[in-house]
Symmetry: C2
Subunit: 343 residues, 2 copies
């Protein structure tokens, strides 16, 4: 059977109505809701067809219809094909930019949650192929050295190193020159055991300290194995009864306490080819997280300048307001882009 124009309009009306009310939609409602001027009986016939096609379904015999996952999919695909929405001024939200990335991300998550009334998540940008830009050790006091490591993108790492012996200024200078000449500009794959041994040998009696510093440096440019993810608005789930009948709420919220489930969403999003819009929609069972099978997840990748890519996600009921969510995410992307360009 084919999804002709009239069926499409009816499906659209069913989805839209269900998004608003959360209740199954009956034929009479559609008959009035659309301007097709068809009686409820005709609509019923069409609905029977749509059901046969797997686009809508009945929760029970004498109830109206609700969209199936596949029905949502048709609706969402249609929407994604739609013209670009104009970029609004979400930027302003971020303009009093926090100096720390962490705070910026938390702010984004919160803003989105408040804006959309859904739960949100954002992953810190994953830094790949990092190179050392600057490395230095300083004497904090007699027993402690401070290793400062700057990597591309001006990300800074520090490590305190405890030393037995007191180092004089000349030695410090020598070690610093050694570190910078030998390690500057290296990526993680360049730092191999051979190099480490060579540098250590050059350092002579201070090889242990140098070993510590190199370890710290290597650790810094290795991608964080535990991806930082911030969430917000998880209590918004309680606004949608279909997600919060007892056990479900618990299960759903649990996935937000631990990053492991969320990071599977991040991975999925980053690995998928998602065209120029950068938006991806997972409906029901399409989500990588089992506990979210009654939800929809809309994700977007964002990029902070030099190749640091992260993922923003909005998680809500399947009957989420896709239109709004998608345009909100687009705005956020643009805002983050602009924000970084100003630097």
């Amino acid at each position: 059977m084919e999804l002709d124009e009239r069926k499409r309009i009816i499906l659209h009306a069913i989805v839209k109505n269900y998004l608003e009310t959360g209740e199954p939609v009956g034929s009479r409602t559609i008959s009035k809701y659309t301007d097709l001027n068809l009686s409820s009986a005709t609509i019923r016939n069409e609905m029977a067809d749509l059901e046969e096609m797997g686009l809508i379904l009945q929760p029970h015999t004498s109830a109206g219809r609700i969209p199936s996952d596949q029905g949502y999919r048709v609706y969402v695909d249609e929407m994604l094909r739609d013209k670009e929405k104009e970029v609004e001024n979400m930027k302003e939200m971020l303009l009093d930019k926090e100096e720390k990335l962490e705070n910026l991300l938390k702010q984004v998550a919160k803003t989105l949650a408040v804006d959309t009334n859904y739960a949100t998540m954002i992953s810190a940008p994953q830094i790949r192929k990092n190179k050392l830009k600057f490395i230095q050790i300083s004497k904090v006091d007699d027993e402690h050295l401070l290793a400062t490591i700057v990597i591309e993108g001006n990300v800074i790492k520090n490590k305190i190193i405890t030393v037995e012996e007191v180092l004089d200024d000349a030695t410090m200078l020598k070690l610093n020159i050694l570190l910078n000449t030998r390690l500057d500009g290296l990526a993680v794959e360049d730092i191999n055991l051979g190099l480490i041994a060579a540098v250590k040998q050059e350092a002579g009696i201070h090889s242990e300290i140098i070993g510590n510093v190199i370890d710290a440096a290597a650790e810094s440019i290795t991608a964080d194995e535990d991806l930082q993810i911030y969430t917000s608005g998880t209590t918004n789930f309680f606004k949608y009864p279909e997600l919060t009948d007892n056990a479900k709420a618990s299960e759903l919220l649990s996935t937000f306490e631990d990053t492991s489930d969320l990071s599977s969403i991040v991975e999925n999003t980053l690995s998928a080819e998602n065209g120029e819009t950068g938006i991806q929609v997972y409906i029901g069972n399409e989500t990588p997280v089992q506990a979210m099978k009654d939800c929809s997840v809309v994700t977007a990748t964002y990029e902070l300048g030099d190749g640091m890519k992260g993922t923003v996600g909005i998680i809500g009921p399947k009957r989420m307001d896709y239109d709004k969510v998608i345009s909100t995410l687009k705005n956020m992307r643009h805002a983050l882009d602009d924000l970084y360009k100003k630097e």
Copy 2:
């Protein structure tokens, strides 16, 4: 009326039984549960007395009794007076200590949550009266300087400063000496406008850079106005039906999304004189957070060596297993203490 020995035993039995079952406790249950060898009728008489004293109450006429807030209080006070429990090996949990304080705290919160089956929170230690220990600027590249600031307790702060002009090594050295001689060991209240002006003047044409560095330093040693608080196990609430009937769950979980409510608990705990045990118990309406009026909150202060004090809290139903929670918290305190001493 006086709380004689027999009444105390009965009260104890009622509380204990209620903690386990979550159901109102009847006289017959107590008659069997205790080894007083009293009939249910006698127990009923005693229970009537206890109710009159405000220690227990009936949810409705023909139900058993549940402890009132005051009843819990008697029970808990008795328990706090009890002998010190032996310190168990929670330490081991923390032994693979994360280098970052943040990760350690998250780990503590999680461990406690898993251990107790309640929600937990932990505040990052509040650092008071900070002094600068070490301050330095380094040239990352021609346009960027890196200011590194170490404050007491070996907490490290960094700030990237963008400069117009390229600074030569001699200038860098000069500025560094200036910074360290003038600012070393200063507390926040020592850094006043007069000092800043004096140092800036000494810096000559580079006063702007110095100004930036001093700003960064001042910011670093000022106590974080937004207290960091980590939580875990919030979904444990769902294990206690009395806390999760619909609206309550949402309200309760909301308080965990925002730190403002939680920080009032931290403040309360830190400001209270809580004796040598360092443990504090808030029952029902005693908690500083209205949304937790059906909960009990058990807090402990911990100290990481040099005066850095923070607060751990466990939030659960009023019928929480006080015995276990209190001893678990004590263990955690000891573990944290020991952990720091090893440094």
